[in-house]
Symmetry: C2
Subunit: 342 residues, 2 copies
DNA sequence: AACCTCTTTGCATCCGAATGCAAAGGTGTT
DNA sequence: AACACCTTTGCATTCGGATGCAAAGAGGTT
């Protein structure tokens, strides 16, 4: 029996650090060190190894590496797939910022807490380094991640009863500003288009609006509930208009857009001449010339940046207490609102 | 020196198959087999192991598993992050279909071939099982993946000189139908809003339109080039209208929307009364009441399904020759076009 | 009871890279 | 030349699960 001779790695087989080591005439550890920044390696050896690596097309196997380092370089991002254009914007911003920091995004579309259950397991199986949740995640599921010491950053959502890392856009000032301006402009009859029952941001936004209104001694003339989607905005139009409001505040831009379209197309009303419409989020499509929505814009780019930064911090120091990072929203004056004519 | 006693895995340490094996009093292999569907295991043992696993909160480590099985369960999806709402739709569809088939999506936003270079390396490092490219990917980069035997499915794009697996939406019939109807409706003065120079679909679409036109002996009265974004559509409006077309065909919906908005808002024109506008893609926002775009819709859901299916096939049989799967587009009659009044 | 067959189980090894430790090499001082 | 000290290198082991193979067990037949 002849001694086992390792074949030269053909195109079919992936070159390993051993292959590179053999070709360069060094040990496998040396190869490993060459690909680890800051490791102890002489320039001469690095050159030799790199030459061999290039020749074999060698790239370190990230999975094998994470097995031993306990760092996968993977981040899970949870977003809703529902047709709210807010999510793609957040997702792409997050992905870009993570890429800049050498992390890859595992994407999960989560439209219910039931979906999230699977995700929590998968996240665990894949040794994901951290999670950004911009969608459904129950307290139990969150705690399951906490128990497993997987850092989670909540994106514009949080739990009342559990402490967590949170990046959120505070719309309080902007909302008050919006209401104050509208009242100053003569508006007294406000209609509200709320978000779905369990949306925390939705509640917060509408609470802010109501607080600002009641500061002026004003009660909304009508309310309706939507699901953040375009269609639900359109659907709410008739109900809301029944009370003859002069202005409508929607809990997000998508619904505001649906609302505007329905008002104009189906109800033959002019926006803002007959009724003003404002939204929340500041999504790109809300600023299309057809809408030019007055809205309370979240600084999505900076939020994504902050979320990524916070998560990376957590990876290094698990101990520190949770952080709630607040960023301010900005009131965008669009052409969908106007003062009441005297 | 006392013999090394393995501590009971605390909450801090992740339970491994060895931990489960010890607790259940069986071998590690048995545990492994319990989590492999179709493996040879007696019901009695499976029950014992599962009980122990549940007790320890054990979940197999997907990274360790893929190290030996050569299957990571990861798929890379390449999309552009540019504000073309077509991509999020494709992305979410793909993600959902992959999830249903037990694969996870690694998301890469790729806005240039330079970006794609990094992606190709990363894909290799992470032992990604396959790639779906709906964005930039050079022939060289594609071939680099081919050489490494990583299956790639091109989503609505392809190379002229290299064979590859492709899922594409054929707009030929729908485009001809659109043009025929418009000509039948009395339109003779067509303007074209083209996509960016290197977009293959863009070229194909416009080639189809031009072919259909020339079949009627018609030459476009004006052309402009955009970048598929909303703003570029708006920007092209003045140029295109200079030649007084009665109808404009845009290479995608985003540009058509920008165009419509600019025509209405800035140029005080009515669509479709003064000029008709049609697009390609069939994205959700194009069907908002403000636009009701006449468009040539891609069956995105079925395309995503087909792409996922095709990729999964490729994972099992590397040998078979490449497949080009064609799906037909559908002409959507919106309110953005109208026959010319006689 | 002896024998055969089919199913279960455990052993040992492997996947590919990282790293603590000790050995080897290099530089400088006296 | 001898010694100390710092850098570079290699060895051996580790991460956690999958799997071929042989041994053990279960069930059936004569």
């Amino acid at each position: 029996m002849s001694p086992p001779v390792k074949p030269v790695p053909s195109a079919k087989t992936r070159a390993t650090s051993y292959d590179v080591a053999r070709l360069a005439g060094v040990s496998q550890s040396a190869v490993s060190r060459c690909f680890k920044p800051g490791a102890s390696i002489s320039p001469k050896m690095r050159a030799r190894v790199m030459e061999a690596a290039k020749q074999l097309g060698y790239q370190p196997n990230a999975l094998a590496r994470s097995l031993i380092t306990k760092r996968s370089g993977l981040v899970a991002v949870l977003v809703a797939s529902t047709m709210n254009f807010y999510y793609p914007e957040v997702l792409f911003q997050l992905t870009q910022h993570f890429a800049e920091n050498g992390m890859r995004v595992l994407l999960f579309t989560v439209d219910s807490e039931a979906d999230a259950d699977t995700v929590v397991d998968t996240v665990w199986q894949y040794s994901v380094d951290g999670v950004i949740s911009a969608s459904h995640l129950s307290r139990t599921q969150f705690e399951r991640l906490q128990d497993r010491h997987i850092p989670v950053v909540m994106f514009n959502r949080w739990f009342d009863d559990v402490s967590s890392d949170v990046i959120w856009a505070d719309s309080d000032n902007a909302a008050r500003e919006l209401i104050d301006e509208q009242v100053l402009g003569g508006h007294r009859r406000f209609a509200l288009l709320l978000g779905p029952e369990l949306s925390m941001v939705g509640h917060a936004r509408m609470a802010q609006v109501k607080a600002a209104l009641s500061h002026h001694g004003i009660e909304p003339v009508s309310e309706a509930v939507g699901d953040y989607g375009y269609a639900s905005g359109a659907q709410a139009a008739e109900t809301l208009m029944a009370a003859k409001p002069t202005t409508i505040i929607a809990a997000n831009d998508m619904m505001a857009m649906g609302l505007m379209d329905h008002l104009r197309t189906e109800m033959n009303m002019r926006v803002p001449d007959d009724v003003s419409v404002a939204g929340f989020d500041g999504i790109a499509s809300g600023q299309f010339a057809a809408y030019q929505l007055t809205t309370i814009r979240q600084p999505i780019g900076r939020m994504a940046d902050a979320a990524v930064t916070l998560l990376l911090q957590r990876l290094n120091r698990d101990d520190v207490s949770h952080e709630r990072r607040r960023l301010d929203c900005l009131l965008i004056h669009g052409a969908s609102t106007t003062p009441l004519q005297p």
